[in-house]
């Protein structure tokens, strides 16, 4: 079973990102579970969402405590919440940042990849919601969920221009990652 924890702030589309990943995994023929870390969500407050992907039915209801992957939608969170808690030593962290991994000074044995997701989202979508970019980078790096399935999931949730812009933002993330 693969476990993913998404850290972000209220308003960054954390729960939507978890939902979209789970729907895409389902479309790929896998079993998936997505749920938010429940709280009284407010814009800007640190929030979490969880995704599990497996080849068989997922029964556990625990929060994700030992993730294989972290998606961090705001790198400032490293300084305020225990983002790295329980991350597997050989895990992967995808961070929304305009800096290189080294410039973030994160103490971990896990691999870190950064992408300026807010910047890209502002350019393409016109709003600072980085989730589509982050999902694009995550899917490219892990190959865990197919990009086609994510695209379908985005278009089903946000039909029309909003969906198209989000798909474009996701594709930009893939292009950037391909060039590295």
């Amino acid at each position: 079973m693969i476990e993913i924890r998404i850290h972000g702030r209220g308003g960054q589309g954390n729960v939507a990102a978890a939902e979209l990943l789970s729907i895409a995994a389902f479309k790929d023929g896998k079993f998936a579970q997505a749920f938010p870390s429940f709280g009284a969500e407010r814009i800007g407050a640190p929030v979490m969402a969880f995704v599990r992907i497996d080849d068989k039915k997922i029964r556990t209801r625990e929060d994700v405590r030992h993730p294989d992957y972290l998606i961090v939608q705001d790198y400032h969170l490293f300084g305020s919440v225990p983002v790295l808690d329980g991350l597997k030593p050989d895990g992967l962290i995808v961070v929304n940042a305009e800096k290189s991994p080294e410039e973030l000074y994160i103490k971990t044995t896990a691999t870190i990849e950064t992408i300026p997701a807010t910047e890209i989202a502002l350019e393409i979508i016109g709003r600072p919601i980085p989730n589509a970019v982050m999902i694009g980078a995550f899917c490219f790096l892990t190959g865990l969920v197919s990009l086609g399935a994510v695209q379908e999931a985005i278009m089903a949730k946000f039909p029309g221009k909003i969906g198209e812009d989000n798909v474009a933002a996701m594709e930009r993330a893939v292009e950037i990652m391909q060039k590295r």
């Binding site: 978890a18 939902e19 789970s22 729907i23 995994a25 389902f26 479309k27 079993f31 998936a32 579970q33 997505a34 749920f35 938010p36 429940f38 009284a40 997922i58 029964r59 556990t60 209801r61 625990e62 929060d63 405590r65």
Partner: protein, 391 residues
């Protein structure tokens, strides 16, 4: 069709397929997406129903009471403080034998204020004369609703479908939703038998002086006891019609050879099953007895299923303050006195107000009760938060 869907939406789609005539709900916290989605379905004209938005849960319960008394198939949903605010009407609905279905998205009770999951809310109304069915996952939560309407209408008893708030209501997972025509075949239109009608003026639930009231409670109690047969029959019929097991009285997992049995209900049984598999790999025989029907309580089924099982631990998300585990009390009462002597029945309270129940917590619980029985323990209690004098 199998869909990756949020629990609340799965339930809303299933309830819509049950074709209620009247839905009434208070739309704000502690509400879920269930009624929000139902209002969309009704608004789009996909369900021919009256959706009555009200200013409080007391009114929501009163509206479905009136609608049901007039012969409508009626539905509402709530949780937590909302359910408590309904409580007066909840008793009336049962006393009037109205086959209303309600979803309780189980959540904690104030104070202190908590919007998170536990099962104290439905527990607070366990004695009201409602059938209470507990869902393990969103598939079962959705399936139980179509069963609930059928059970309610066959028994003239209201049914509360309990599903863990947030943990199930807000989780995306695969749910197989039937086609409307399959639901129609399983659940025919409601044919009310005991209604108020201006063409034939009469009242129900009116005045019972001491010559009568006592008997009405006896009759209601007997009806609750007898409803077990219907619950089992409807679950069996559901399995036949839809090709999967959902609901019923109890379910078991790895019980046969188990030398320790965990009893619980609701979504935590999923985590317990994973742990049981881990134990099995380690050569430890732990089993599960899962309660689906909490009211009526499956006393005989528990007794029969646990013949020869001497080590039992009850894990629950509610407490009778000043007494202890509520489910544990029910389980202890399931064994006749002579049979109780050698049985070790431990009681653990867990996950109150949304505290995460981890596999590590459950492993600790199992290891501990294997050494000695535990009268009562709060699992995962952080003693640093408690003043010495309060410990």
């Amino acid at each position: 069709m199998l869909k990756q869907i949020e629990g609340s939406f799965a339930v809303a789609e299933m309830v819509a397929m049950c074709r209620p005539n009247v839905i009434s709900a208070y739309p704000i916290t502690p509400q879920t997406h269930i009624v929000e989605e139902l209002s969309v379905i009704v608004g789009k004209g996909q369900l021919d129903a009256e959706f009555v938005n009200v200013e409080s849960e007391f009114s929501a319960a009163s509206v479905v009471l009136g609608a049901s008394a007039a012969g409508a198939r009626a539905y509402t949903a709530t949780s937590s403080q909302g359910l408590l605010l309904m409580s007066e009407v909840v008793y009336c609905i049962a006393g009037m034998r109205l086959p209303i279905v309600m979803t309780c998205a189980n959540r904690a009770i104030s104070a202190p204020l908590s919007i998170w999951n536990d099962q104290q809310d439905s527990m607070a109304l366990r004695d009201a004369g409602w059938i209470q069915l507990h869902a393990e996952d969103n598939q079962e939560a959705s399936d139980l609703h179509v069963q609930a309407f059928k059970i309610a209408e066959k028994t003239s008893l209201p049914v509360m479908v309990c599903m863990d708030g947030f943990i199930l209501t807000h989780a995306f997972e695969p749910v197989d939703l039937p086609e409307p025509k399959e639901v129609d075949a399983f659940l025919p239109p409601f044919k009310p038998t005991n209604i108020v009608d201006p063409r034939w003026p009469r009242g129900i639930g009116l005045f019972a002086d001491p010559r009568f009231y006592h008997e009405t409670r006896y009759i209601l109690h007997r009806a609750m006891e007898k409803s077990g047969k219907t619950i089992k029959a409807v679950s069996a019929e559901f399995a036949k019609s839809f090709g999967r097991e959902s609901g019923g009285f109890i379910k078991t997992y790895n019980l046969k050879d188990a030398d320790l049995v965990i009893i619980s209900m609701g979504s935590v049984v999923g985590t317990i099953k994973d742990l049981i598999d881990e134990f099995a790999e380690e050569g430890k025989k732990v089993g599960l007895l899962q309660i689906c029907s909490y009211r009526p309580f499956p006393r005989k089924e528990i007794y029969d299923a646990l013949k020869g099982k001497m080590n039992i631990v009850v894990l629950e998300k509610s407490i009778s303050l000043g007494r202890g585990g509520i489910l544990a009390s029910d389980v202890r009462w399931s064994f006749p006195r002579a049979d109780k002597k050698d049985r070790n029945i431990s009681s653990f309270i867990a996950g109150l107000g949304g505290r995460n129940i981890t596999k590590d917590d459950l492993r600790y619980m199992v290891e501990k009760v294997k050494k000695e029985p535990v009268e009562l323990e709060f699992l995962g209690l952080n003693k640093d938060l408690i003043a010495k004098k309060d410990l």
